[in-house]
């Protein structure tokens, strides 16, 4: 593969030249570069790897114990930049015209933004990855990473946003999100926490969907202006009870361990870490109103410098044993159903919290997706988009 060799040599000399070589993946490139299917423009084959892979990932998604074996078998040296929020990840993916990073573990509130802006490449997952057939039914072509039947990446982990609480301080165990939203005679006022992001508005909307049916909320991410205002009002009311909003997951862990927070929305990984730290007793529930959640997708930059390594990485992360490892470390649920047998065996009684391969449960979770002005139903373009949500969120956060 002389062509690739020359590219690699140039890489050392001129970054621009390497960028030109790397961009072959879109143009149905020659030689050994990843090439596109003749029809849809989706990447459909993997060429020789480039020896390097730059990823953006949620902290905890790329531990050495499963990245090292990948490096050994693929020859791609992995460098990871942790993204602490979806917004940060979107920004990072656009750095240097999209060439700075090859791929990202994007959550559903980031994916549609990346797809709409053309930041990520279409990938012919069914041709490239035989393991794709084992992916859970609900994640085969979810709206957050598949547009008009075109796939933009492979699913990795998913999980619910649970209601976590300190079992010493919160008695009896809560069954409803009202413990964090209702202000009247709330015994936990001042010790509540919530997630610091516009996407948290969906949690309020989900609660209103159950408690105020006259608002007519059907999907917590498809809100008309009136519904958004109702959710924002609820959040403004809640703000007085919030000790501190958590943005980075360690904020919540610190807050619980310091006794500042006793109840609030959490990722399963936060609970796992608190349990393993053993400083405060915590537990969690899936409240009766339901939960929001996230499903993460490995996506490839449409200007990736190392597309073949990225495709190899996608292939690797779909492997059932890899996903089991990640799931057990991160406290998330794998998307590959073949991971479940091992996971259930390893976790024993705890396995029921993971709902591995449980399409019925997953279909109940309102997975994060980017709010768009197009409602996605017969209401047409009357919904509020993400930028309206961020303005609403600034109003919630600005007041106190």
């Amino acid at each position: 593969m002389k062509h690739v060799g020359r590219c690699m040599a140039l890489f050392g000399v001129l970054a621009i030249a390497a960028a030109a070589c790397g961009s072959n993946d879109n143009g149905g490139g020659g030689g050994g570069a990843a090439s596109s299917a003749s029809g849809g423009g989706a990447v459909s084959s993997i060429g020789p790897t480039e020896g390097q892979l730059n990823l953006i990932a949620w902290p905890g998604y790329t531990q050495k114990s499963w990245v090292k074996p990948f490096e050994d078998q693929s020859g791609c040296k992995v460098t990871v930049k942790y993204g602490n929020t979806s917004d940060e990840m979107v920004q990072l993916m656009r750095q240097s015209g999209g060439t700075a990073y090859d791929g990202v573990s994007a959550s559903g509130d980031a994916t549609n933004r990346l797809i709409a802006a053309g930041d990520v490449a279409a990938v012919d997952v069914n041709t490239l990855f035989p393991e794709y057939a084992d992916v859970m039914q609900s994640l085969q072509e979810p709206a957050h990473n598949t547009v008009d039947g075109v796939h933009y990446g492979v699913p990795y982990m998913w999980g619910p946003n649970i209601l976590m609480f300190n079992t010493d301080m919160v008695k009896p165990a809560p069954t409803s999100w009202s413990s964090v939203f209702e202000t009247s005679a709330n015994p936990y006022a001042g010790k509540v926490t919530a997630y610091e992001s516009p996407i948290y508005i969906a949690d309020a909307a989900l609660y209103l969907k159950a408690t105020q049916p006259d608002l007519g909320i059907t999907d917590p991410y498809e809100l008309t202006q009136d519904q958004l205002t109702a959710a924002t009002d609820l959040l403004k009311q809640q703000a007085g009870m919030i000790k501190k909003y958590w943005s980075v997951y360690t904020d919540e862990i610190d807050g619980f361990e310091a006794g500042d927070m006793v109840i609030g929305t959490a990722w399963p990984v936060n609970q796992s870490i608190l349990v393993s730290d053993g400083k405060v007793p915590v537990s969690s529930v899936i409240p009766k109103e339901g939960v929001t959640g996230w499903a993460d997708t490995w996506m490839m930059s449409s200007h990736a410098m190392h597309p073949n390594c990225m495709l190899k990485w996608m292939e690797y992360t779909l492997q059932p044993d890899v996903q089991t490892q990640v799931a057990e470390y991160y406290g998330a649920t794998p998307s590959n159903t073949k991971s479940c047998a091992q996971l259930n065996k390893d976790l024993g009684a705890d396995a029921k919290n993971y709902h591995c391969g449980d399409d019925a449960f997953l279909s109940q979770v309102a997975l994060w997706k980017t709010p768009l002005s197009e409602c996605g139903d017969d209401r047409g373009a009357t919904c509020t988009d993400y930028s309206t949500w961020t303005n609403a969120w600034t109003e919630v956060r600005g007041q106190g």
């Binding site: 501190k244 310091a258 930028s387 956060r397």
Partner: protein, 302 residues
């Protein structure tokens, strides 16, 4: 130029370095350009140009549909800032915090500076000054994190308050932010006041005493007026540093300050024009502050 340059009158020195220096001696403008050029370029390109870009961006707008910046002149961002109550709330909160921190630091810094400048033995002075600037040797983040721990729910401050019967957690509150800022910027308040106090001539104090003024009167009528510009200079530091900081509120507080709102607008909403417009607000506030400070003679005291 009518004068014959010195270099031409003396025999040419040997070596290229000497020749160059001789040549430069004869070409004053080139010399001036070479010495000031790099600094000026830095000032203009890096400092002023970025400010100008900021100003220009604030007059552009964001296409809500594509999230792309549209380069059409508009006052929309400033209208949004004016008509949305939350931005006013955030601005008032930030200015209030800056004022509270400034006042606190003045009250704390004056006695310390007075002690070092006028009461400590000359030998002790460098040691005391060293103690004042010592915190600046450690990383800013380390100091903020320290205060996060101090003010946290099971931290030392909470236990201390518990001893006097107050069971009120100040973690993640504006009080915690105020304490943290007051600590962070204290050295910047002490040093200018110390400088001003040190420059008060002893002869004036003796004269005041000769004319029958007691300690209190001398302090009020002689020392304070002389040190006043230094105090104003100190407030420039504490006020502007507080107004511009956004890390400490994230770590030890909960409420949004101007910096947090700008960060949110730029990083989350990706609305750079509105973020730029909001960034103009503290610049205007500081501009007005500096004009007043100049009138009060603070610039001679820095």
């Amino acid at each position: 130029m009518t004068n014959v340059p010195a270099a031409r009158a003396t025999p040419p020195p040997e070596g290229s370095g000497r020749r160059a220096s001789a040549w430069l001696h004869g070409h004053r403008r080139v010399k001036l350009g070479l010495t000031l050029g790099p600094t000026l370029t830095w000032m203009i390109v890096v400092y002023l140009a970025s400010l100008v870009l900021l100003l220009i961006t604030s007059f552009w707008s964001l296409n809500e549909l594509t999230s792309q910046i549209e380069r059409i002149w508009t006052l929309k961002n400033f209208q949004t800032l004016w008509s949305t109550p939350v931005y006013r709330t955030i601005t008032i909160r930030s200015v209030g915090m800056a004022a509270a921190v400034t006042l606190t630091d003045l009250v704390l810094a004056f006695p310390i500076a007075y002690l070092i400048a006028r009461m400590a033995r000359p030998r002790m002075r460098p040691l005391l000054l060293l103690a004042v600037v010592m915190p600046l040797w450690s990383n800013y983040l380390v100091r903020v994190f320290a205060w996060k721990i101090i003010t946290s729910g099971n931290g030392p401050l909470h236990s201390l308050l518990g001893l006097v019967g107050i069971d009120h957690s100040i973690s993640a509150s504006n009080i915690a932010v105020w304490l943290t800022f007051s600590y962070l910027w204290l050295p910047f308040a002490i040093l200018p006041i110390f400088g001003a106090l040190e420059r008060v001539p002893d002869s004036l104090l003796e004269a005041s005493s000769d004319l029958g003024a007691r300690g209190g009167l001398t302090f009020r009528r002689v020392i304070v007026p002389l040190v006043f510009p230094g105090m104003v200079a100190a407030t420039i530091f504490t006020f502007s540093l507080t107004l511009g900081d956004y890390i400490a509120p994230i770590l030890v507080g909960k409420a949004f300050f101007i910096g947090n709102a700008i960060y949110n607008l730029a990083g989350v909403a990706q609305n750079l024009p509105l973020a730029a417009a909001f960034a103009i607000v503290p610049i205007v506030i500081m501009g007005a502050y500096l004009v007043v400070a100049r009138k009060l003679g603070a610039f001679e005291a820095i």
